[in-house]
C-alpha cells in the first residue's frame, strides 16, 4: 500500500525517522545482540577471562532441573490464568451484552482493574490472603484449610494464578463485549425463530462466531502471563517458597541479579525472545485472518 501524493526531499525523511531509529538501535537491537553474544560465552568464576563455548550455556540450561521445572510451571500458570480469566470474563460479557438497565454503569465498574499495576495487584491479594492477618484467611482456616501460601508452594501458586487472573478480567471482558456486540442480531433471531433456547443459541451461534476473539485473547493472555506477572510474583512471593512460583522471566531476573551467571541468564533471555517471536507471529497471522473474515 502506497500513497500517490508525496513530498520530495532527500534529507528530511531521514531526520524524521532518526529519533526513533536511534532509540531502537541503542536500547533494543544492541542489548538484544549483546544477549545473543553473551549466551555463547562463558566467564570464569572471577570474571577475568571469557571463552567462546558455542551452545554450552544452552545445553547446561536444559540439563538443569530447575529450568525445566520453570518452563513447565510457566506454561501451567499461563494456561490456568488464561482459562480462568477468560471463562469468567466471558460469562460477565454475555450478561452485560443483554439489553439491561444500567449496562454502561456495569461496564464502567468492570473495566477499571485494567489500570491497576501488577505489583499493586500482588500487594492487594497477599494482604487479603496473608496467613496471619488476611481477612479471607480467617474464613479458610475456619473451614479447616491449613492456609499458608508463604510456606506451601501449591497454595502460593494458586494465589498467583488467582491474582493474575483477577487483573486480566477487565481486559478480556472488554474485548468479549466488543466481540458479542459485533454479532449480527439477525443471526440470533433466526436461531430463536428456529426454536433454539438461549443456552443452545449461545453454544451453536454465539460461541462459534466469537472464536476469533477467543483465539486472539488466548494469545494475549499467554503473553500477559509470561511477562506481566513479574510484578505480581515479586511483591507476593518473590518466586518462593522454594522455587514454587518462579516463572521464566522471574528466573532470568534472579539468575542475573543474584547468581551473577550472565551467560546462563543471557541464554534464558534468548530463549524467551524466541518464544515472544513465535507468539507474536501467531498473533499476526491471526490478525491477518480477522481482516478478511
Amino acid at each position: 500500500m502506497q500513497k500517490q501524493a508525496i513530498f520530495q526531499s532527500k534529507l528530511l525523511p531521514y531526520a524524521l525517522v532518526a529519533p526513533q531509529l536511534a532509540i531502537v538501535l541503542i536500547f533494543f537491537y544492541w542489548p538484544a545482540l549483546q544477549a545473543v553474544i553473551q549466551s555463547f560465552l562463558l566467564q570464569d568464576a572471577f570474571g577475568l577471562s571469557t571463552s567462546f563455548v558455542w551452545f554450552e550455556n544452552y545445553l547446561d540450561l536444559f540439563k538443569e532441573r530447575a529450568y525445566f521445572e520453570a518452563i513447565v510451571r510457566t506454561f501451567f500458570f499461563s494456561f490456568a490464568i488464561a482459562v480462568s480469566s477468560l471463562s469468567f470474563a466471558l460469562l460477565l460479557a454475555v450478561m452485560a451484552d443483554k439489553p439491561l438497565r444500567g449496562s454502561t454503569l456495569y461496564r464502567t465498574l468492570l473495566i477499571w482493574p485494567y489500570a491497576v499495576a501488577p505489583p499493586v495487584v500482588g500487594v492487594l491479594w497477599i494482604f487479603m490472603l496473608h496467613p496471619s492477618l488476611g481477612v479471607l484467611s480467617r474464613y479458610l482456616r475456619n473451614m479447616g484449610i491449613d492456609w499458608n501460601p508463604l510456606l506451601d508452594g501449591n497454595q502460593a501458586a494458586s494465589l498467583i494464578i488467582l491474582a493474575a487472573a483477577w487483573k486480566q478480567i477487565s481486559y478480556n471482558f472488554l474485548f468479549f463485549l466488543a466481540g458479542l456486540q459485533s454479532i449480527p442480531r439477525s443471526v440470533l433471531e433466526a436461531a430463536a425463530i428456529d426454536g433454539a433456547r438461549p443456552m443452545r443459541r449461545f453454544w451453536t451461534v454465539t460461541f462459534p462466531l466469537l472464536s476469533p476473539t477467543i483465539f486472539f485473547l488466548l494469545v494475549v493472555n499467554i503473553v500477559y502471563a509470561f511477562f506481566d506477572t513479574f510484578g505480581i510474583i515479586d511483591t507476593m512471593t518473590r518466586g518462593g517458597p522454594g522455587k514454587s512460583t518462579e516463572t521464566l522471566v522471574y528466573k532470568v531476573y534472579t539468575d542475573g541479579l543474584l547468581g551473577g551467571n550472565l551467560g546462563s541468564s543471557a541464554a534464558q533471555s534468548v530463549i524467551l525472545m524466541i518464544m515472544v517471536i513465535v507468539l507474536t507471529g501467531i498473533q499476526f497471522r491471526f490478525v491477518e485472518r480477522k481482516v478478511t473474515y
Binding site: 531509529l21 533494543f28 477487565s170
Partner: protein
C-alpha cells in the same frame, strides 16, 4: 429483538453484581485497611468497615513515608511516577508520529527496511533484554535519572503502526490542496495532519500513560537512590520480609495512591481508553 424473559434478566443483574463485587473487594479491603490502626491489622482483627485514621494515615504516607523501611514520602514517589509516565507517553507519541509521517509521505532509500527495523521491536520487550540494557544505561551514566527511566521504553512499534495506518486513510486531496496553498512538509504536518490525528493521539496517550505509570521491572533495576523511586517500587520496599515490621495502613494507602491516577484516567476518559485499547491491539 430476541426475547428476554424477566427471570433471565434478574439472573444477569445478579451475576454482574457478583462480578463487580469480586473485582472491587480487594480494593475495598485496601481502602478499609488504610483507615485503620496498624496494631489491629497486625493482630488479624481488622474490621470490614472504615476506621478513623484516614487523614492521619494519608498525611503520613504522602508527606512523611513509613517510619521504618523506606523513609521516602510517597508524594515524591508519585511525582517520579508522573514524570516517567508523561515522558514515556509523550515521547512515544512524538517520535512515532514523525517517523510514521516520513514512512507514509516520503519515498526514500531504505524506507521499508527502516519500517521493519521499527516493527520488529514488538518482539523485544524489556523483559528479554534486561541485563544488557541495564549495562548500556549504566555505561551512558543514566542510572537514577529520568532519561534512564524512560528512554529504553520509549520506542514503540505499535504507535508507529497506528499512525501509519491512520495516515494511509487520510485522503490524498488534502495534500494536493495544501500544496496548491503553497504548504511544504512542515506546514502540511502541523496545520493538516496533526489536527486530524488529535483523537488518535488522545486515545494513545491514555493507554501509554497507564502503561508508563505501571512500569515495574525496569525502574526496579535502574533506580538505586530512594529519591528516584517510583511509587510501584516504593510499595514493594515497604513490605519487609519480617512481617511484623510492615506498616500495613501505609502500604495500603500507598496502594490506593498508586491506583488512583490510572484508574481515574480509565473512568474519566472511558471512550478514549476503550478506543486506544482496541486500536493498539490491531
Amino acid at each position: 429483538m430476541v426475547e428476554e424473559e424477566g427471570f433471565r434478566r434478574y439472573v444477569a443483574h445478579i451475576i454482574l453484581w457478583i462480578g463487580i463485587a469480586i473485582v472491587a473487594f480487594p480494593v475495598y479491603l485496601a481502602f478499609v485497611a488504610s483507615t485503620q490502626d496498624n496494631a489491629v491489622i497486625a493482630n488479624g482483627q481488622m474490621s470490614l468497615l472504615p476506621g478513623g485514621h484516614f487523614f492521619q494515615t494519608y498525611y503520613q504516607t504522602i508527606f512523611v513515608g513509613t517510619s521504618g523501611s523506606t523513609r521516602e514520602p510517597v508524594g515524591n514517589m508519585m511525582l517520579n511516577s508522573l514524570i516517567m509516565a508523561l515522558l514515556i507517553a509523550l515521547g512515544k507519541i512524538a517520535i512515532s508520529i514523525i517517523s510514521a509521517y516520513a514512512i507514509v509521505y516520503f519515498r526514500f532509500p531504505f524506507r521499508m527496511p527502516i519500517f521493519w527495523i521499527i516493527f520488529i521491536t514488538l518482539m523485544l520487550p524489556v523483559e528479554v533484554r534486561i541485563y544488557p540494557t541495564y549495562k548500556i544505561v549504566a555505561d551512558l551514566h543514566m542510572l537514577d535519572s529520568y532519561a534512564g527511566l524512560s528512554l529504553p521504553l520509549i520506542a514503540s512499534a505499535t504507535a508507529t503502526l497506528l499512525f501509519r495506518q491512520f495516515f494511509m486513510t487520510v485522503p490524498d486531496e488534502l495534500l494536493e490542496a495544501s500544496r496548491i496553498d503553497g504548504a511544504g512538509p512542515f506546514r502540511f504536518f502541523w496545520d493538516t495532519l496533526l489536527p486530524l490525528s488529535r483523537t488518535n493521539m488522545a486515545a494513545l496517550f491514555v493507554i501509554l500513560f497507564i502503561l508508563g505509570w505501571n512500569q515495574y521491572l525496569w525502574p526496579l533495576l535502574i533506580t538505586t537512590r530512594d529519591d528516584m523511586q517510583t511509587i510501584q517500587i516504593g510499595i514493594r520496599k515497604m513490605i519487609t520480609t519480617t512481617d511484623a515490621l510492615t506498616e500495613w495502613p501505609i502500604v495500603m494507602a500507598t496502594a490506593m495512591l498508586a491506583m488512583l491516577p490510572p484508574v481515574f484516567v480509565v473512568i474519566a476518559m472511558q471512550k478514549l481508553f476503550v478506543r486506544g485499547l482496541v486500536e493498539t491491539e490491531k
